[in-house]
């Protein structure tokens, strides 16, 4: 009986192994930002209907972790919700990885508070900086603006693994990663949504999609960067009036990958469909002409490499 079990396990493994027909199919490996992930997933899903022989796999380990793999040559395309950093550039250079950045959609970072919060309607970037800067002294709402409640403010934001955190701190605090640390740093934005929607004196920030899906539980704050308060929406992010918390979302394509016809086909498909699909999953499509410019930039990037070879 003991022998039988051993044999069974062995045969099970051999059977699975023999099912393998060898990984000779065309593969495209993508990893990176969890923010960009839903768009790339949608594109990959649609692409599969067009060309099922090309195997596209997508991870969502975060912009930073994605670049770590990308700059080692482990992935073909890296999703990112921020631009590549100097250190990451240096790493890529060290490992001989050439790449180019392409914008594929836009996103606005929304500042939200509890629904019953009736004192805040707008904040200025200066006030946001006052709240979030590294040595912030804001402990109570009344510390931000006079007349606001003398109640402790409880803050929610993404943790350091998120590109959203890097972007927000860079825009608001002047330096990527510079932030006060005594806030609820969440790995999962839904935790922030829950926290803010159940605490009258809370405030937090995250991508627009998370506000839109939970609009009935949260109150959106307008940002006044000098031209009057503007709330983030499809409209205001696309036409650039929601400042300064609008951002581009990117894919980075390695040059060695851009040589391959499969990758070329996929990335062009990406540009052709990113507008519609981005909106499907809660992001803001780029203006038509910008997408076209990105596509032709990719064409010359890819064909340039073909010419070299």
């Amino acid at each position: 009986m003991v022998k039988k079990i051993f044999a069974l396990i062995l045969f099970g493994g051999l059977f699975l192994y023999s099912c393998g027909s060898g990984g000779s199919q065309q593969e495209i490996k993508i990893d990176g930002s969890g923010t960009v992930y839903p768009i790339t997933e949608a594109v990959a899903e649609e692409f599969r209907k067009v060309d099922p022989d090309i195997r596209v796999s997508v991870g969502s380990s975060g912009s930073g972790a994605g670049f770590k793999k990308f700059t080692r040559g482990e992935t073909d395309i890296s999703n990112s919700s921020r631009e590549i950093s100097e250190e990451e550039k240096a790493l890529a250079e060290e490992n001989g990885i050439e790449y180019q950045q392409f914008s594929i959609a836009l996103d606005g970072i929304s500042i939200v508070v509890h629904q019953d919060n009736d004192w805040v309607n707008t904040l200025t970037p200066e006030e946001l900086n006052k709240i979030w800067k590294a040595d912030s002294e804001v402990q109570k709402w009344s510390d931000i603006r006079e007349g606001w409640p003398d109640e402790e403010i409880r803050l929610y934001g993404p943790n350091t693994a998120h590109g959203t955190y890097d972007f927000f701190t860079e825009v608001i605090n002047g330096k990527s990663g510079a932030s006060r640390t005594d806030f609820n740093a969440v790995a999962d934005y839904n935790v922030a949504v829950q926290g803010i929607s159940s605490d009258k004196y809370s405030l937090g920030y995250f991508g627009l999609a998370y506000y839109e899906e939970n609009a009935d539980q949260l109150k959106l704050i307008g940002i006044d960067a000098g031209d009057g308060p503007v709330k983030p929406s499809l409209e205001t992010v696309k036409n650039g009036t929601y400042k300064p918390l609008s951002r581009s979302l990117y894919i980075y394509v390695a040059k060695s990958a851009a040589k391959r016809p499969a990758v070329q086909k996929f990335v062009e498909f990406y540009f052709d469909n990113a507008g519609e699909l981005a909106q499907d999953v809660g992001y803001v499509p780029m203006p038509e002409e910008d997408i076209k410019a990105q596509k032709s930039a990719f064409r010359s990037f890819a064909s340039d490499t073909v010419a070299v070879n």
Partner: protein, 285 residues
Amino acid sequence: MNNAKFNRLKDKAFKYTGIIASISGIVVLAIFIGFVIYMGVQRLSWDFIVQLPSRFAEESGIYTAWMGTVWIMVFTTLISFPLGVGAGIYLEEYAPENRWSKFLEINISNLASVPSIIYGLLGLGVFVRMMQMGNSILAGALTLSLLILPIIIVSTREAIKAVPSSIRDASNALGASKWQTIWHQILPASFGGILTGVILALSRAIGETAPLIVVGALVYVPFAPQNPLDEFTVLPVQIYNWVSRPQEEFIINAAAAIIVLLGITFIMNGIAVYLRNKWQSKMEW
């Protein structure tokens, strides 16, 4: 109040404390499971099992995730079973009683309590990068094997210890060699216990997310793995990804996937119980 009465009162109090303690665990578990089933059962369907992941929650399925889980589990079993049982037999039957084996023993017990993410980092450094396996099923299975090896070793030793020493003495007295004694007497007698330990360890491995994310389990994998060096995703990773989506419908998907994962775990535990009972009733000396 006299002493006897007081003691009887203490007795009662202790009994009810015990009842409350045991019920509260079950109640919490029941609430969790009930909640998950309540949320997820609406999404459970054959389509959900056989469809690929999708950006539309209603069209999204767990085919590649559970296939990945099956692949990972088969290879984890193939690797951890012989290694773990072999080590257990050696430590219990062959290893001399000296400082070295004491040292080994303590370390194995300690390894059982190392957080799983540490194994993930080890797997990333050794299997994925140093041994160039990439983010493959093989790397994931090796990492999970490391994670559960200590549990298998310890339970194998416990199972062997439970075999009455009279059996060993009798076998030796009949002139059987050490290996004959182990193969024909000790192993059959303890195999139910060993299998139970192995399957419980595997049940733990099946729910692990953290080490596999570190090793590089992806999220969107629209193809079932075809060989051990393929990329993969597993059920817990898929669940983790769905839970962090902004859309409510994906949370429901996650609940449905949890039901499937729980189902697989229950089946594995069921097999463990069945095997143990079967072996125990069969062994008669």
